[in-house]
Assembly symmetry: C2
Homo-oligomer: 399 residues x 2
């Protein structure tokens, strides 16, 4: 045997891993789990709105079914695929069930993207999507998002310059983190460009059912759109059931990758989701309950922002989903966060979602998990913290 000195020293991790940005949000969540902190930081749905009794019923009913505890196919349980196909208004051969929609992002990135291929994302970006594309060493091009969703004008110019993305990713409804929803013009514009230039649109849509006015949202049209959905924000994250709705050729590619990723999803969890989603009368009422509660909470948050910050804050009024994106001109929100934590309030600084844009004065506030009174108190603490930061900036000697 050779002496060990002849063995080359290699980095422990693969090259793929070295390209991934860690999630500042996830690291932050450890801090915000302290009970005295009012957290506007999380991306969790409200625990108090998770229908645990109805889920317990579904579990009890499902475990007794034959084969509920066995393996299923890599595409997922037929019954659940049929229910999802019905919701998506497509044929079941377009549906593959995933372990949360994050797995759909990860498998699509592996299926469709080679190292160096361009992937276009919004700036600010959903960090989970960024990580999935970084993991396959995509070249990320981030376009500043507009009030009408993905920046179709900038995308057109990029394409005209000869850039050829494989994928354009967006969270189309109640965008995480910016809160905006793609307009009809954005949707048709994206679909036209995708058709002309041959890229895939990945329409990531976990929040579409959570419109405050209850109005249904329209999917991005066209044959080049791959839609992702999830039960995490409407039923419960712990079910870990997401799905993709894609042309059958793409479904077949993702199916092969899912075999190697984890063989298949949970028969039990998928049957439970089928039971819950197929009970449309109950499910629609449950969605109304969540959307009404989130609407009240969003209103509590924004009126507190008006009351406490007045003209010194800019924000997009939420019309659904879980997030309000705010701008505090002149305030470094990363600096603000450490002061805010000392006052017992947490949020995610804009820089955590930035690719190229300077979002240092912005922040994502989640209104989903706190009750209105707690939201008002959180904003009061945020105001106090902001005052401290502004005062310190004006007279640094006071430090």
């Amino acid at each position: 045997m050779p002496p060990s000195s002849t063995i080359p020293t290699v980095p422990i991790e693969s090259a793929a891993l070295r390209g991934i940005r860690g999630s500042a949000i996830r690291d932050l969540l450890a801090v915000t789990e302290q009970p005295e902190v009012l957290s506007l930081a999380g991306g969790l749905p409200a625990t108090d709105l998770i229908p645990s009794d109805r889920i317990a019923d579904a579990a009890a009913r499902t475990i007794g079914r034959p084969d509920a505890l066995q393996y299923t196919t890599s595409r997922g349980v037929s019954l659940c695929r049929d229910v999802v196909a019905n919701i998506e208004a497509v044929d079941p051969d377009r549906i593959l069930l995933t372990h949360g929609s994050q797995q759909a992002l990860s498998l699509l990135a592996q299926a469709l993207v080679d190292p160096g291929d361009v992937v276009v994302v919004d700036d600010p970006v959903y960090v989970g999507a960024l990580q999935a594309f970084q993991c396959v060493r995509a070249e990320i091009v981030a376009l500043p998002i507009t009030r009408n969703g993905t920046n179709v004008g900038e995308l057109s110019r990029l394409l005209e310059r000869g850039v050829r993305p494989r994928i354009v990713h967006t969270v189309s409804n109640f965008h995480n983190p910016s809160g905006v929803t793609a307009s009809t013009e954005t949707r048709t514009g994206l679909a036209d460009l995708a058709e002309t230039y041959g890229f895939w649109i990945v329409e990531d849509d976990p929040y579409g059912r959570l419109a405050f006015d209850g109005a249904p949202t329209s999917p991005i049209p066209g044959e080049r759109t791959i839609r992702l959905g999830s039960a995490s924000k409407t039923l419960a994250p712990a079910l870990r059931v997401g799905w993709l709705n894609a042309p059958p050729a793409v479904v077949a590619l993702v199916e092969r990758l899912k075999q190697s990723a984890d063989l298949c999803g949970s028969t039990l969890n998928q049957l439970m989701v089928a039971d819950l989603l197929a009970d449309t009368e109950w499910f629609d009422a449950h969605i109304d309950t969540i959307a009404s509660a989130y609407s009240l909470r969003a209103h509590a948050l924004t009126s507190a922002l008006d009351d406490e910050f007045g003209d010194s804050v800019e924000y997009t009024s939420p019309t659904g989903g879980m997030f309000c994106w705010v701008r505090l001109p002149g305030v470094d929100t990363s600096e603000l966060l450490s002061v805010a934590l000392s006052y017992g309030v947490a949020f995610v600084p804009g820089s955590a979602f930035a690719v190229d844009a300077d979002l240092g004065d912005s922040a994502r506030l989640s209104f989903a998990t706190l009750q209105p009174d707690a939201l008002r108190e959180a904003v009061r603490r945020l105001r106090t913290a902001t005052d401290d930061v502004v005062r310190l900036r004006k007279s640094p000697d006071a430090r």
Copy 2:
């Protein structure tokens, strides 16, 4: 906009995907699901031995717990990691929970292997492991497995020739598909080589608890061993809870990849597994029940092989797990399969598990899912099919 003729035609799938072998076994399972077929083909545990009542209790108890339906951390629920750490007799910071142990294979491949890196596997191989390593474009080197497990002699010669694997993978106990168990000499030999040459041993161990004599198996020793475990073969596949037991530095790498792969596992399913595994008196008795039943089924299969095939079959007597590997000298088992299906019996031909070895006269027979009488009938049908194949080979004109 340019005319569409200027858009390059690119293959739909990424290069990574083009390297993966489809699973012949999975494709086969579609055929064998017909009720009249007695299947020795599956890799499933016996449905009749899944403790569904006890699992229903665990579900009912768990859903009521606070946060049971929320997201968890990427490492998994602490309570479940603690229970697994106790079983593995290690510190919890070595444990990360995965979506079945297949996900542990897939994430380890991504974490530790760069394209072109050598990964050593057994021949025949567990196809799920092969797929995971092919997915990251590893250079696969397959060594013919011995009666004592991984071929340490061939591995030594490979290393002496200067080949430097990143990973050596094996199913150490009741190997899938070959049925063999690594001897003590194989284990210490592997550990010594790993220490000297700096590769990782991935000890894939889903079957270790299913020893027919109830004796505990010993893990492969050493600091370079990463152990994978699973609840799929002892509790239920649909729980989709597996784990890895690795040095904390490797756990940290896999954790980052798991964030991007699927954020986290199911809090609910992991809490249920914790409930079931922590009830050691019940769990040990349950393991005895499975192992006794599998032992009886294995005996029914091998005595039927003796009765029907006599000296024309060679096999390794199973001492645990779910599989019996047989050799029918002079018979092409792929050819046999199509005839066997017409007689209503299915199995997996050896070639489905072969990397470089010629295993065309071998087959994997699972004894887990059929009752003894059905196993005997399956072997009778297999004998009739074999007679047909042998007769056709001797007098091809009879076709």
